[in-house]
Structure formats: C-alpha cells, structure tokens
C-alpha cells in the first residue's frame, strides 16, 4: 500500500470510472452519488501525499518504477516533488469540487459525463506524476479526449467548434513535442548506448546548443499552446465559454497547468542551455508580458461573463510563464504558487458563472445587475473570488504575484514594470465585472426571484476560499515545499546561482 501510494492516487479515479460504467445508466442519482464518492475518494487518497512528502529531501520521492515496454526503454515510473505535489493536490481537490458542482447542472447523459470526468482526472494526475517521458506523453494525450467530449457533448451553442479547436490546437503542439522527446531519446542512445525515456537519465545528456534550441522550440509549441501563451491562446476563450461549468473549472484550474508544468519539468531541466539563451528568454518573457497586458485589456471589453474570466486566465498564466522565465528561485516558486492560486481563484470564478448560468441560462453581463440584493451569499463568495484573483494581500493571489514580480524584477526591472500594469488592470476588469453584475439595482425582472446558493453549492466554494486564505496568510509551507525542487531547476539552468558571489551568467535585461 505504502509503496504504491502514487499509483493508488493515479488510478483511483480510473477505478471509479470503471465501476461507474457498470452502474445502470437509468439511475442518475446513483451515478451522481458514485461519481462524487469516487472523486472524493480520489481526493482523500491523495491527502497522505501531503504528510508523507519530505520537504527537506531533494529529488523525487515515493518513486515507483516498473518496466513497461522494455524494448523501447519505456518505464512506468511515477514520482513526486514539491511542484507536482502541489499540482496533484490541486487536481484532486478541484476535480472533486468540479464533480460536486455538476450535480444539478448536468442532466443529460450523466453517466458518460462522469465517466469522462474521472478518466480525465486520472490523465491529469498522470501528467503531474510521470517521470518517464513516454508515460507523460501518453497521459498528456489521454487528457485531450475526455475534454473534447466534455466540451463537445455538454457544452454551449458553439461547442463543436470549440471542442475541435481545442483538440486540434493542443494536438498540433503535442505532436511536435513528441518529435522533441524522440530527439532527446535518440540523442541519449547516441551518447549512452541505451534507450530510455526516464527524465533523470535524459538530464545527463550534453547536447549542442543548436539542437537544444530546436528541441526547446518543439517543446515550446506544445507547452505554450497548453498554457496558453500569447499568441496561441485563441482556443482558450472558445473552449472555456462553450464548456460546461465543471469543464471550464478543470480546464482552467488544472489543464492549463500542464503547460507550465511542462516548462518546469522538461524544458528547463532538460534543455538548460537553450533555456538561458537570450533570444529564447526574451521572446518567452516578452510573450508572457504581452499575455499579461493583452489578456487583461481584452477582459475589460468582454460582454460575456465567462469569456471575461477566460481571458483573465490568459493574463494570469502570463504571470506564471513570466515567473518561469525569470529563471530564479522566486520566479519559479512564485509561478508554481500562482498556478495553484489561479486554479483556486479562476476555478471559483468559473464556478460562480456556472451557478448563475444554471439559474438563468445566459452569460451576458448586461442581463445581470444588482444580484447582491437577491443573492447576498453568492455576492460575498464572488467578492472573495474576485479579490483572490485580483491579488489582494492576505489572499492567495498576492503571494503568487508578488513572488513572481520579485523574481521578474531580479532578472529585469522592465519586465516587472510591465507586469505590474497587469495588477492594475486585473483589479479594473474584475471590479467592473463585479459592479455590472452584483451591484446596482435589480433592473432585470428575471433576476428578482433567484435563489441564493444552496448548501451543496456553498460546500463547493468553502474549501477553495479556505485554501485561498491559507495561502494568503500562511504561505510558508508552500515555499518550503517548493524550495528544493526550485533550487534544483535553477542550479541546473544557471549553475553557480547559489554560490557565495554571483559568478553566474547574467540573463538578458538583467541589471547587475
């Protein structure tokens, strides 16, 4: 049991799905209950990870290895470090809450819906746990299919377009990543005489800079599309807007993190020389900054509630990638924390849209107004989510943003100066949204009799709010958990960073 904790965490949702498939499709209540039980179980079995994780140790923990396809050197290899720990916990919790939130939202083809969800859950956890590149790739692609169906079957009016766009975009990126992976794989064979996909083995490669850069760009396309970085983001608003609420939540909270995780786990450690190449760093940081500002500006102009939140994701994820390409401990740790934060706060925002959509079946902002009168609890929850997303101190967003800014500032003051405008704009679009929906008089008669949050809905939000406050007030455990893995990445990318005096290669724009 103990030796296979990660496998248990990984396959619990899948097992839940298989049982689910055996249940009679006609009994919707039973299916709902089981899906909730299964996803809750998925969360509960992941909890031991938290206290069994040793934050003082470096490297991967709880590693499980088994041969899978020996002739290709493919292993079934799972392991966890601070970065994946946080993302796995985010996945299991948000996954459970998303399932819980769809109790009444989904009425059609319930069984398939939950089956897709649980399958996707396993895929996402697998992405964060895999230590074998092949395994990673398999999980990476596995995630696509359920999401396609979640958007395509249970989505909004333009669901078909959105679903296929999502699928095509991400697939196009990931096949290029496959080429990159295979290149590394082959290079490993050339240098060491055996084939392996194990990340720790691939890290031993010494590649010429040119090749590293090519592979980097191949990875970049995949990860940047997933994140999504500007200008690969256009699938995101469509997918988010058309997806059902829980789909949007998981998409925003977890799925996008696969991209940033990819940068952290693969691009930087495997291609350290390419990662510090001035051109690459500048392009990536530049795109991140564009995303921050651009996403916020576009958010400002949205008429569709959900689209606004979707574009805000672009902006927030811009912070995450900026942190990554600051290439220093604070940037990286801030990025991971901000990924969790984005999962929490944007997840909440999508849930909030979902709650009202379930009641009114419209997402037009102008249809609303004055909801704080009729739904005070809802308005309060929304306020929390908004403030958390806007990065108010004492809530989670601030910790992440500030740490990223610290990291970015260390590398380039100009970056930080531009990024800070994102903070301002972030407040602007969120407040304006809040004003247009929650404040003022109730002008639309259809909004008069809306019921406030029920207990189930509140139960979805409370864990997220609690988590948001925890990170905001006492983020120390997160920093501690991230310290070692982040240090390893930085040391790999910029050797000597942790030495006594700076003998380290300066990055472009770095003020020294």
């Amino acid at each position: 049991m103990n030796g296979h904790l990660l496998s248990i965490v990984l396959f619990t949702p899948l097992a839940g799905m298989l049982v689910l498939l055996l249940l009679p499709g006609s009994n919707k209540t039973l299916i709902r209950i089981w899906a909730n039980v299964a996803s809750l179980a998925g969360f509960l079995v992941s909890l031991p990870l938290v206290w069994r994780y040793d934050k003082t140790a470096s490297g991967f923990q709880m590693v499980e290895t088994a041969d899978w396809i020996p002739s290709l050197g493919v292993k079934y290899m799972l392991g966890i470090d601070g970065i994946s720990l946080l993302l796995v916990m985010l996945t299991t919790l948000v996954g459970f809450l998303a399932v819980l939130s769809s109790w009444s939202a989904v009425q059609e083809r319930v069984k398939e819906y939950y089956a897709m969800f649980l399958l996707q859950q396993t895929g996402m956890i697998g992405v964060f746990l895999a230590l074998d590149f092949f395994l990673f790739y398999v999980f990476w692609e596995v995630v696509l299919v359920p999401m396609y169906f979640i958007i395509g079957v249970w989505g909004g009016p333009r669901k078909l377009y959105a679903a296929i766009k999502f699928f095509l975009y991400t697939l196009a990126g990931s096949v290029l990543m496959l080429l990159g992976i295979l290149t590394l794989y082959f290079q490993h064979f050339e240098q060491f005489g055996f084939y392996t996909f194990e990340i720790s083995d691939l890290m031993k490669l010494s590649l010429p800079l040119g090749l590293q850069q090519w592979v980097f760009w191949a990875f970049f396309v995949a990860f940047a599309i997933k994140v999504p970085m500007f200008p690969f983001h256009t699938w995101l608003p469509d997918a988010h807007v058309e997806a059902p609420t829980a789909g949007s939540v998981v998409l925003a909270s977890v799925l996008l993190k696969m991209g940033t995780y990819g940068f952290l786990r693969f691009s930087l450690p495997l291609l350290p020389d390419a990662s510090v190449t001035p051109a690459i760093v500048q392009v990536l940081a530049g795109l991140s900054l564009v995303a921050i500002i651009y996403g916020a500006l576009v958010s400002l102009m949205q008429k569709d509630w959900k689209k606004l939140v979707a574009y805000s994701s672009v902006s927030h994820l811009g912070f995450c990638t900026l942190g990554i390409f600051a290439l220093n401990p604070n940037g990286l740790a801030g990025s991971v924390i901000q990924q969790v934060n984005h999962g929490i706060s944007t997840g909440m925002l999508f849930l909030i849209v979902g709650v009202i959509y379930e009641r009114r079946h419209t997402r037009e902002i102008k249809e609303y107004g004055g909801l704080a009168h009729v739904m005070p609890v809802y308005a309060t929850v929304f306020a929390f989510a908004m403030l958390s997303s806007a990065g108010l101190p004492l809530l989670n967003g601030f910790i992440g943003e500030f740490t990223i800014l610290q990291g970015a500032f260390e590398t380039s003051r100009v970056w930080a100066a531009f990024a800070v405008t994102g903070v301002i704009l972030g407040a602007a679009y969120l407040l304006w949204l809040y004003q247009r929906t929650m404040l003022g008089e109730v002008t639309n008669p259809k909004n008069k009799g809306l019921p406030d949050l029920n207990w189930r809905e509140l139960a979805v939000f409370l864990p997220l709010i609690a988590w948001a406050i925890w990170i905001g007030v006492y983020p120390k455990p997160y920093f501690e958990v991230l310290e070692k893995p982040v240090a390893e990445i930085v040391e790999r990318v910029r050797p000597g960073y942790f030495g006594q005096q700076a003998a380290v290669q300066a990055l472009p724009g770095e003020v020294r």
């Binding site: 576009v298 958010s299 400002l300 500030f402 610290q406 800070v420 304006w432 004003q435 929650m438």
Partner: protein, 688 residues
C-alpha cells in the same frame, strides 16, 4: 500585563469583530442590533486600551522600539541583489511599535472609536447595519496592520486592505451606480499607486535586500549608501516609487481624483477613512521611510512640490464647491498636500503632527457635516441650507471650533501644526520661499472656503424648503458626544506641540516633537544645530499666517453673509460679527466679480474643469485608451490570430476540394494521373 508583547492583539480585536459581523452579522442585524452596537465599538475600544497601555510602556522603555514577530510570512527563497550579493526574499508577520507607530495607533484607534460611536447613531436607521460595522472593523484591522507592520510587505497588506475597505464602504450603497463607480475609481486609482509601491518594494529588495523597517533604516543609515544629492540614483527611484504609492493612497496630484468621489460613502466613512486615517497612510509611509527620503533630496523636492501643488489646487477647487462634503474632501486633499510639503522639506515629525491634529478637526468637520446632513434629511447642497446655527447648536459650535482650527487660528490645534509646517517650509535647508508662499496662499484659501462653508450652512437666511425646515433637529447623543470630544481635541490637541518660539511654555508642551524627532529625525533639526534661531522672521511669518487666516475668514463672512443678491437676508440676520463688513458692498461686488466670479470662480472652475477634463480626463482617457486597446486586441484576436487559424481551415478546404475535383470518377483520368506520375518520376530522375 506586558502590553508591548501583546501588540499583535491590537489589530486582532477589530478583525474578530469584522469576522463576526460578516459571518453571522446578518442574523444579528434582525434580532439583536444592540449586540452589534456594543460589540463593534467595543473591539475598537479594546484596541485603543491595549494601544494606550503599550504606548505607555514604550514611553518607559529605554530603547524606543519594540518588535514582535509572530511567524515568517513570505518565506525565504534566495535571490541575487542588484550588486550580485545573495539575499533572502522574506517577510515576517511581525509588528513594530516605535514612536511613529505609537502616534499612529493612538490616532487610529482613538478616532476610530469615536467614529464607531458616532456611527451607532448615524447609521442606526440604515439597512446593512451589520455590514457597515463589519467593513468598518475590517478597516480598523487593516489600518492597524498598516501602522504596526514591521516591514513594507506587511504594511502593504494593510495598505491594500484599507483600499479594499474604502472600496467596500464607498460602495456601501451599492444600489447606487454613482457609489459603485466611485468605489471602483477609488480602488483602481489606488491600485495605480500600489503598482508603484510594489515596484518600490522590489527595488528595495534588490538594493537593500530586505524590507524590514529596522533593517532598511539601519542599512540606509550605516553609510553604505551615499546621499544622492546630485542626480537621480537608484535610491531616488526607490523613494519616488514609494511616493507614487503614497500619492495614490493619500490622494495627491495627480491621483487625488478618487477622493472627492469617495464622498458617496456614508459620512462616518468619509470622516474615518477619507479624512482621519487611511488617506494619511501615505504620509505615514513617507515618514516611515524617512531614512530613505533623507538620502534623496531630488525625490524629496518632488514630494514637496507635489504636496504644495496639490494643496493649492485642491484649496482653490474647494472655494467654489457647493456640496458640503465635497468642500471637506478637497480640503482634505489640500491638507494632505501640506503634510507632504512637510515631508518633502524633511520635517517628518511636523507632517505627522499635522496628521495628528488634522485627524481631530477633519474628523470633527466631517462628522459635523454628517450631523448637518442628518438634520437636513440627507441634503448636502449648502445653497439649500443656512441659518442652522440655532437649530443644531451642538453641531454648530463643534464645527465652529473645527473651522477655526483648520483655518489656523492661534491656540487651536490646526494653528500649531500648520504654522510649524509653514515655518519648516520656509526655514528648512530643503525648503523654499516659493513653497512657503504657496502654503500661505493655501492657508488663506483654506480659511476662506471653510468659513464660506460655515456661513452658508449655519448663518444667514435659511434657504431650505418648509418641509425640511420643520424636521431639522439636533442629532442624538451618540453623535453629539463624539462631536464634542473631537471638538475638544481640535482645540486642545495642538498644545503638545507648541512652537519653540513661544518660549514661555515649558518643554512638556513640546512633547510631540521630543517623542518623534529622535525616531524620525528631520533635516532641519540637523541643519539647525548650532545655528541661531531667527526668531524675528519666525514671529513675522507666524503673524502673517494668522493674518491671512483671519483675512480669509473675514472675506468669507463678507461675501456670504452680506451677499448683495440677498439684501433682505443681510438686513435681517447680519449679526454684530458682520456689521463692519456690511457697508462695503461696492467692494464686495468688485471682489465678487473679480475674485469669486472672475478669479476664484473662474479660476477655480477652470481648475475644476482642469480636474474634470484633464486629470479626470486623464483617467477617462486612460479608460478610453484601454477600450481602444482592447478593441484592437479583440480585432487582432478575431482577425489575425483566429484568422490565421481560420485561414488554415480555409486552406484545408481550398486544398480539399481541388483534390477531390481531380477525383473525377473517370477511371481514365486516374490512369492519366498514373501516367503523369510516371512521367514525373522519370523526369525527376532525369534532371537529378
């Protein structure tokens, strides 16, 4: 009991109150309003008592600071400072009590308590009572965090937090669009400042390696950093960025625009947040960063100039406002300008002194105006008031005291602090006569508009309609008692900082200076050591300022009580106070034409227009730009990025159909393609 080690409890009480209100307050609101009325002021009172105890113990302590660190908040990841040295990015959840923060916590808890009590009466009939007190308590919590924090990052928690509470309280009447607009404006404009503050902190991390006040001051004082007397260096930039934050929070030019709009909130809020406490946070922060500003004369000059400009700009606008709270709002902006002027010339303790006295009289004036509004049934336009003196006497007399204090009449609180500022501006090594002149003119304007307010409100002919007139009544005890307390404060608070000039008073009367000056040493104190005190000039200047104050008051009386447009009213109500001025109506007309209509009204409204068009316009323009930018972005998104994807799918189809067209269904065309294929292969190998 060791109060010093318990200072972390000080902000906790209001937080508990706020949490209670926001979580279960809705149920209390219906059943047990009295619990709210007792609990919320009670928590603040507890904080006040704790603060008092702590300050008292601090006075007795040898080293004049006490630091309590609860835990590491943002926990240490290493980074490289600008000079390449290793440092740790960390910030504690820690509290620092030193003379500066002790003044602040007393002011904050004291004024807050009074305003809480006042609110019990003022808000008694309003809906969302629990919400109001919840926000108010939350505000006190954040404000105390702001002043008690031991580092900039934690200060920033309070800094943003008060901004949030300001947003919540301005938008308290959230069904009014203007209220929520004002709330948004406040929050966003504050955020602009905060962005500067954040960058300032980042720069501080990069240059100094820590944001802990003691570390920063120690590092800056250690001589590691030379004063940037010539040129604009990294420290100046840091100071400037922090000051940008301060301009947002403390409503300085060009970011002051949110404050007048903030008057949409309930009046106690205006008193507490927008007069006494939150807006002074910038001043506090600049004083807190005195070690930095001392090294950066360039930035200090900017601070002084911005302060002076804001002071005179706001004062001139206040001249022509008709909304009673707006006059006070501009007045606040103007007074904050004074404080920054003091900071800019390096007289930090004086700025804090003015902050302290201003808290009394401005809170008083706001609460008084609230009482007036309360009495008038919500009316805020002074043109519909008049002659309220006898109907609401307590309000009148307390406001009378407050107006005198702000006008700078000797003996009242405002005089001591304002005069000290003017003197420092004149005499400090970083001071300048030009600044002094601006300050003096502002003082005259201040006296004028305050008394214009008084005259329009309390004196002269009643101009309200009968229905309102019939319902005018004095406010309840919960409101008048706080007024009285504040009035006493406005009168007496200055006496702990009498000028050195008045050498008849013992040093005890200069306790404020003695308490603060070592903690936040001013430029002047160092410069003045050993130099002879030019008492003659100082006396002259003092008299001058008193004179302009009196002149302003007189002018106001003359214009608004003896108004030529209202001869009947003049005749009936002109008391003995105004008889000397009543004959000069011809001058009055010219002055009226020249000064009020021409210069003040014209100029003031020109400035108001400037405010509306240029400054506000700047904000609007930014909004417009934003919209333009986002429209362009959407355009880009739809047509270029999505467009390229669509182009691809279009190309796909463009490829697809011709390919299908080749598939004619005629087998001989297939055979032809086959042969052409052979031809191509041959040809390829031929030309190879």
């Amino acid at each position: 009991m060791n109060f010093l080690d318990a200072i972390w409890l000080i902000p906790l009480f209001p937080l508990a109150g706020a949490a209670a209100m926001l979580l279960v307050g809705r149920h209390l609101d219906r059943s047990a309003k009295a619990v709210i009325s007792l609990l919320c002021p009670g928590t603040v009172l507890a904080s006040l008592l704790l603060s008092a105890g702590a300050v008292a113990q601090l006075v007795g302590k040898a080293e004049k600071f006490h630091e309590v660190v609860l835990y590491t908040w943002v926990a240490g990841l290493p980074f490289r400072m600008a000079d390449g040295a290793a440092a740790v990015f960390t910030a504690d959840w820690g509290f620092l009590l030193d003379p500066l923060s002790s003044v602040m916590i007393l002011v904050v808890t004291g004024i807050s308590f009074i305003i809480h009590v006042y609110s019990v009466g003022y808000m008694g009939q309003e809906g969302g009572y629990y919400r109001f007190f919840g926000y108010l308590n939350l505000f006190v919590f954040f404000m105390l965090m702001l002043v008690l924090a031991n580092n900039y990052l934690l200060l920033f928690v309070g800094w943003e937090g008060v901004g949030l509470c300001s947003y919540l309280l301005i938008g308290f009447y959230f069904h009014k669009k203007s209220a929520s607009d004002a709330g948004n404006k406040a929050f966003i404009v504050n955020r602009i400042g905060d962005a500067g503050f954040i960058l300032g902190m980042l720069l501080m991390f990069a240059v100094i390696g820590s944001v802990r006040f003691l570390d920063v001051n120690q590092a800056l004082g250690s001589g590691r950093f030379a004063a940037e007397t010539a040129g604009f260096g990294v420290l100046s930039l840091m100071a400037l960025l922090l000051f940008v934050g301060a301009t947002g929070k403390s409503a300085q030019f060009p970011l002051y625009v949110w404050l007048p709009d903030a008057m949409e909130g309930p009046t106690p809020v205006s008193a507490l947040i927008h007069a006494a406490t939150m807006v002074t946070a910038g001043v506090y922060m600049v004083a807190r960063s005195h070690a930095l500003f001392r090294l950066t004369p360039e930035t200090s000059l900017i601070v002084a100039v911005v302060g002076a400009f804001t002071a005179i700009l706001a004062a001139s606008i206040a001249l022509v406002q008709n909304d009673i709270k707006r006059v006070l709002a501009y007045s606040t902006v103007s007074q904050l300008g004074y404080m920054f002027m003091a900071c800019g010339v390096g007289a930090y303790w004086v700025a804090i002194f003015h902050l302290y006295t201003h808290a009394f009289f401005k809170a008083l004036l706001f609460l008084g105006s609230g009482s007036v509004i309360h009495a008038m049934g919500g009316e805020q336009d002074m043109r519909n008031m008049g002659g309220l003196k006898d109907k609401i006497p307590v309000t009148h007399w307390t406001m009378f005291a407050g107006s005198l204090a702000i006008a700078g009449i000797p003996g009242l609180a405002g005089f001591f602090s304002k005069d000290e500022i003017l003197w420092q501006v004149y005499s400090s090594p970083w001071g300048a006569t030009a600044l002094y002149v601006v300050g003096l003119v502002t003082a005259a304007m201040t006296a004028f508009y305050m008394w214009r307010l008084m005259n329009l409100t309390f004196y002269g002919q009643p101009r309200m309609d009968g229905h309102t007139a019939a319902h005018i009544h004095e406010s309840p005890r919960t409101m008048t008692v706080p007024l009285a307390v504040l009035a006493a404060g406005s009168v007496l608070a200055g006496w702990i900082g009498v000028p050195k000039l008045w050498s008849v008073f013992p040093e005890a009367f200069r306790a404020f200076e003695h308490w603060l000056e070592p903690a936040v040493p001013s430029i002047a104190a160092h410069a003045a050591e050993g130099a002879p005190h030019e008492t003659g000039i100082e006396w002259m200047l003092m008299l001058l300022s008193v004179a302009v104050a009196l002149g302003g008051i007189w002018l106001a009386r003359h214009f608004y009580v003896h108004r030529p447009q209202l001869p009947d009213a003049l005749a009936r109500s002109a008391g003995g106070l105004y008889t000397t001025l009543s004959n000069k109506w011809y001058v009055d007309e010219i002055y009226g034409y020249l000064f009020v209509d021409g210069l003040a009204k014209g100029g003031g409204s020109a400035l108001a227009r400037f405010d509306n068009r240029v400054v506000d316009g700047g904000v609007n323009g930014a909004g417009w730009m934003t919209r333009l930018g986002s429209t362009l972005s959407i355009w880009w998104d739809t047509w270029i990025i999505d467009g390229s994807v669509r182009l691809l799918s279009f190309m796909v189809k463009v490829f697809s159909y011709p390919m299908r067209l080749l598939q004619t269904g005629l087998f001989q065309s297939y055979a032809l393609a086959f042969v052409l294929g052979i031809l191509a292969l041959f040809a390829w190998l031929l030309v190879r």
